[in-house]
């Protein structure tokens, strides 16, 4: 064995089991050409794992297999697997050989026996059908029959040698081994001789059966350490392996309505197609109403929608939502909406995921609601629920489903949700609903805590439920706070009263101004008249003065003429005629007359 190992290249060859999740955990599946041991208690899923690996090998790679059943007979095994869509009876006819290796209780035991004959038969059968896989299921049952630790050891060696000589792609041995059991010596050896050990566990948590898987040994290979949840669906077992680090979803820039216009506005135009939205809030903050509105809006757009409710019947929810103007029943009838409700206490979180997956496959929704997703934490512990919630959101994203989930958080601080399902970190949009208690009232408040990749309102808004559905009230702020309920109503009334008052004041002022304007206009008229008169007067005065200036220059000429020895009579006669003229128009003639006299 060690010599063989040295020849193995650095990368250990592996062979995929095709079991979702396990091939990721084991970085490729089981060790190729080697033996793997599946150990665990009864009903922990070992047989399903082994059988499913065989079925996948046949269906995906046409590799035939042999299943040696030490514990159950073929009929039982095929009946047990009938709930899976493997088509086992058809496979069992040619590609899958079942060996009933369960010793009948009628068989008499007399002395020691061994497996050399059986292994010879298996070798022949393997060659006949060209089997590439072999499963020894329930080897512990066989070992118990040997009733002798030495014989057990011997037969384990025999199987190991057989497996070495008869190379198969993969050999699987399953055994019920309990920790600290008395047979620990031989089982220890069993674990040593194989290259890979996978531990299976079935345990009850809060009355719900939970299945777990853990790779405890993988010779020459790396693997994901730790316990992982296992769930059983229509296609068999599935391991809740951690999601691949690389996120493959393609982001969409398309917006879809979150339910109603004002909320869309707050979200900068709506939710992104294929995004996930988380609505948190204490009971009664109308999470379901918002979810219902979202579903209704989706149906109206003609998008297939799935509404999953936990702990409340679909009928009850539809009826309750009718009271706030949300009509889901019409869409259920038309087949656009599928409502599914389930109790959460009865099945584990993993099973919910499996059911949701099959619902998604059946209904092919574009939008989906889970109300409340926090309910899955009720059955079987928080760790499982957390993993499931995360996987669910990633699943929805992979399927490009726009998903809205609600979660109840105890206490009014949205941050307490972080200790709960921890989905707020992976949700794209987080809307928190709360009650604000002020002046003796409880009012619903809506806050958008985050919305990835888009602008969103940062304001706390009041959510009002009316007969026509949820409405976000107008924002009134006072003292830095959004007013709600009566305070908002008061503020609204106050605003209205103020408006009326302002209008009255305005009208009054207008009248005043109009009067003042008329007055001014009148005064302007009067002044205008004055102005006209003054203008006229001014023009008249100007022409008279002109005449006076002209006559005065004439007089000077006359005087000069007289002074240069002209006869006085002539001067008097000349001046006399001009004086007569001047007297008729002006009273200044006297002065001129006097001057003339002086001159004479």
């Amino acid at each position: 064995m060690s010599g063989k190992k040295a020849a193995v290249p650095k990368i250990l060859p592996k062979i995929a089991t095709g079991i979702p999740g396990f091939d990721e955990l084991s970085h490729g599946g089981l060790p190729r050409y080697r033996t793997s041991l599946l150990r665990g208690g009864p009903g922990s899923g070992k047989t399903v794992f082994a059988l499913q690996s065989l079925v996948n090998a046949i269906r995906q790679r046409q590799e035939a297999g042999i299943f040696v059943a030490f514990e159950e007979n073929t009929r039982q095994i095929i009946a047990n697997a009938a709930s899976f869509d493997w088509g086992l009876p058809a496979l069992a006819r040619n590609k899958l050989f079942f060996l009933d290796a369960k010793l009948s209780p009628d068989v008499v035991k007399s002395g020691e026996f061994d497996l050399s004959g059986m292994l010879a038969m298996l070798k022949a059968k393997k060659e006949e059908i060209g089997a590439k896989w072999i499963v020894f299921d329930g080897i512990d049952v066989l070992l118990t029959l040997l009733q002798n630790p030495l014989a057990e050891m011997r037969e384990i060696y025999r199987i190991r040698d057989w497996l070495t000589d008869n190379e198969v792609n993969a050999a699987i041995i399953t055994a019920k081994i309990h920790e600290g059991s008395s047979e620990a010596v031989n089982y220890g050896f069993l674990q040593f001789m194989v290259d890979c050990v996978v531990r299976f566990e079935r345990r009850l948590e809060y009355g719900v059966a939970l299945h777990r898987i853990e790779i405890t040994k993988y010779r020459g290979s790396d693997f994901v350490a730790g316990e992982f949840p296992v769930s059983f669906g229509p296609s068999g077992m599935e391991v809740g392996a951690p999601e691949p680090a690389e996120i493959r979803q393609v982001a969409s820039g398309e917006r879809v309505s979150a339910g109603f216009e004002r909320l869309d506005t707050m979200l900068g135009g709506g939710l992104f197609r294929g995004s996930s939205t988380l609505i948190t809030g204490v009971p009664g903050t109308s999470k379901t109403t918002l979810a219902g509105k979202f579903a209704e809006a989706a149906c109206r757009r003609g998008e297939r929608t799935l509404f999953v409710s936990f702990d409340e019947s679909a009928d009850r929810i539809a009826l309750n939502l009718t009271s706030v103007g949300i009509n889901l029943k019409t869409h259920v009838k038309s087949g656009m909406l599928r409502m599914y409700s389930s109790r959460t206490e009865t099945i584990g979180a993993e099973d919910h995921l499996v059911r949701l997956k099959s619902l998604i496959r059946e209904h092919r929704p574009r939008c989906m609601v889970i109300d409340p997703i926090s309910a899955i934490a009720k059955a079987g512990g928080i760790a499982a629920a957390r993993a499931v919630a995360n996987r669910f959101i990633y699943l929805a994203k992979d399927e490009k489903i726009t998903v809205l989930v609600t979660a109840i958080n105890e206490g009014d601080e949205p941050e307490t949700e972080a200790t709960d399902l921890q989905i707020s970190t992976i949700a794209d949009t987080w809307i928190h609903l709360s009650y604000l208690i002020r002046s003796g009232e409880r009012n619903r408040a809506l806050t958008i805590i985050k919305s990835r990749g888009t602008w969103h309102s940062n304001q706390v808004r009041e959510l009002v439920l009316g007969a026509a559905g949820p409405v976000l009230a107008d924002v009134y702020t006072a003292g830095g706070e959004v007013l709600m309920g009566t305070l908002r109503w008061e503020k609204e009334s106050e605003e209205k009263a103020k408006t009326v008052q302002r209008r009255a004041e305005f009208d009054h002022k207008r009248h005043e101004l109009q009067a003042a304007e008329a007055d001014t206009r009148a005064r302007i008229g009067a002044l205008q008249q004055d102005l006209e008169r003054q203008r006229l007067e001014l023009s008249m005065y100007s022409s008279d003065n002109e005449a006076r200036i002209v006559s005065s220059s004439d007089r000077e000429k006359e005087l000069r003429r007289i002074r240069s020895a002209d006869p006085a009579g002539r001067a008097a006669a000349g001046t006399g005629s001009s004086l007569a003229k001047r007297r008729a128009s002006d009273g200044s003639g006297k002065r001129i007359k006097k001057e003339a006299r002086d001159a004479a």
Binding site: L99, D100, A101, L103, S104, D106, V107, V108, K109, S110, G111, E112, F113, D114, L115, S116, G117, M118, A120, M121, K123, A124, K125, E128
Partner: protein, 108 residues
């Protein structure tokens, strides 16, 4: 004495008819070798010549053994008379073999 014994055997129906048996062995595997020896001793002592034994080496005809519903070796099957019986092991526990074959062991 031999007469008396015959009577008792007759009442046990053991030698009234021939016992047909098949022994499946794995060649010379220790348990198989031991089983052949043990069975021969039992037959010699209790069945005289009133038996028919077929020894089948599973290593040589594995598919036949498979068809016969054999699992482990050595395995002994009583084909007739009915009821059929199946015994596994190296037949070292003589009592259980006789009981399974329907041979009543003499008292003492």
């Amino acid at each position: 004495m031999p007469r008396k014994k015959t009577k008792r055997e007759a009442s046990g129906r053991a030698v009234a008819t021939i016992v047909v048996m098949r022994l499946y062995i794995a060649n010379d595997a220790p348990n198989s070798v031991r089983a052949v020896a043990n069975l021969e001793a039992i037959c010699k002592e209790h069945l005289k010549d009133k038996f028919k034994l077929e020894i089948i080496d599973v290593l040589e005809t594995p598919l036949r053994a498979l068809a016969d519903g054999i699992l482990v070796t050595p395995s002994l099957t009583k084909v007739s008379p009915s009821p059929a019986a199946k015994i596994v092991g190296n037949l070292s526990d003589k009592r259980s073999v006789l009981h399974a074959l329907g041979i009543v062991e003499p008292v003492e």
